[in-house]
Each structure stands twice: as C-alpha cells, then as structure tokens.
Symmetry: C2
Subunit: 140 residues, 2 copies
C-alpha cells in the first residue's frame, strides 16, 4: 500500500504553499478574486497532473522501444461545467510527436498503453469526464 | 463555457515542462524510474489541486465572515490502489485552524460549504475516491 502526503499552508490573503513528494509550489486565486500574481491556479494543476502522468509513461515506453523522437508534447483543453461546483466534464488531449523518423505504429501503441492501461491519473479522469485523445505525427 | 488550456512539453529524459493559466512548473518521475531531481511528481499534484481549491474557498469565506484565524493548513493523505492503473481510492483530509479567537461554528460552516458545494476539484475526487474530512481547532 502506498500513501501520498501533501500539506497545503496559508501564507497570506489568497496565497498558499503546497508540498509535493519532490518539492513545493505556490497556489493562488486569480487577480479578480484577490490573488496577487504569485501562485498557480489549483484546478488547472489537474491537467498538468494528467498530461505529466501520461507523458512520463510515453517517455518511458519511447526509451524501452528505442523510438527516435525529436520533440513531443501534449496539448490539453478541458471544458468546465456551467453549474457549480464546476468540474472538467470534457477533455481533449492531443499528443504531438515531431521527428524525421517517427514510427507511427509504435508511438500510437505507447500512447494507447498509457491511456488504457498505465496512467492512474487518466483512470481518475475517466470517472468524471469524457476524454478524447488524438495523436498527431509531425514529420520533419 | 470556460475552457482551461495546458501544454506539457518534453525537455529531456524523464523531465517535462508544463504550463498553468498563471505560470509554469516542471514534472519529473522519481529517481528510481530515471528522474534527476528537477521536477515534481505528477500524481501528487492532484492532492495540491484538491487542497488548494478547498483552501481558497475557505480563505475567501474567512474574509467574508471576518473570522480571526492566525494560521491554517490542510493536511492530506491519499492511499493508492494496489492494482494498476493506480489511483487514489481513499483520501483523508484534515483542516487545521490555529488562533486565540477561533469561531468553531463558522469555520466548520466554511469548510462544509467548500466540501459540499463550492470546490469543483472535490466534486471530481468524489467520483473516484472515498473522501474523509476532519476539522481540528488549535486554540492558542
């Protein structure tokens, strides 16, 4: 059994410090709600969590499969419900691969393995959102 | 309709850069999986997202209700499933309030409003996890 532990502490006004097993960061609300521009928006951290989790799966598989990729990113757009509490109910996630020798079949396999099997954050997102995934190959 | 947009980009090896509407951060896997100690763990960012979202609700309500609080934090422990994909199935969240004039009833009301009504990240967590919430008042 593994347990993760995080502590989020009030610093002042609408600013919070929060820990991570590997470091720390600051969280703050937007200026229109009293933020002063020091911290990150908490809800969007969910999208960094999802893309980061899946990107690490894919990077690990690229290494294992010895795939030649020059560059790689995940672009994610997530739509919030109109009603409160507002949560991400629709997610569009695009994997972009760049390179001169992209192996499309193997890269697609790596993406599919992450999305369907490995990524725990994706498993959580699937419980509350429709997640659409696209893979785009940019041959250079 | 509001849409949040994040881009997560491969930097090298097992390190990724990721954006946020208010800034940026780095994500990396643990050293035992090839990380080199530069970035944060992506899954635990979910816990910072949840505590940050709820903490901002409570800070905002403390302001509105003119509550006198010297210090305030949220301590969260989240248990991962043993089976893959591993997700947080049990969450224990403790709100700690410190001060010499804590209004327990109103602070509890602020916590309850966030947990039950305002916090969108909590609404997402409730779809995949059992969330236990406790409030502790530290009179000083």
């Amino acid at each position: 059994m593994q347990t993760d532990h995080v502590v989020t502490t009030w610093k002042k006004n609408m600013l919070f410090h929060t820990t991570n097993p590997a470091g720390e960061l600051y969280i703050e609300t937007s200026p229109e709600h009293g933020g002063e521009g020091t911290g990150l928006r908490p809800k969007a951290l969910m999208l960094s969590s999802l893309t980061g989790c899946s990107a690490l799966d894919v990077a690990s598989l690229m290494k294992k499969m010895k795939l030649d990729v020059a560059d790689f990113n995940i672009d994610i757009k997530a739509e919030l419900t109109d009603e409160h509490p507002r949560y991400y109910h629709k997610v569009y996630m695009v994997f972009n691969f760049y390179g001169s020798a992209l192996n499309e079949a193997k890269l697609q396999k790596a993406v599919d393995l992450s999305i369907e099997k490995y990524c725990g954050v994706m498993a959580m997102f699937k419980k509350f959102a429709d997640v659409e995934v696209e893979t785009v190959f940019h041959h250079q």
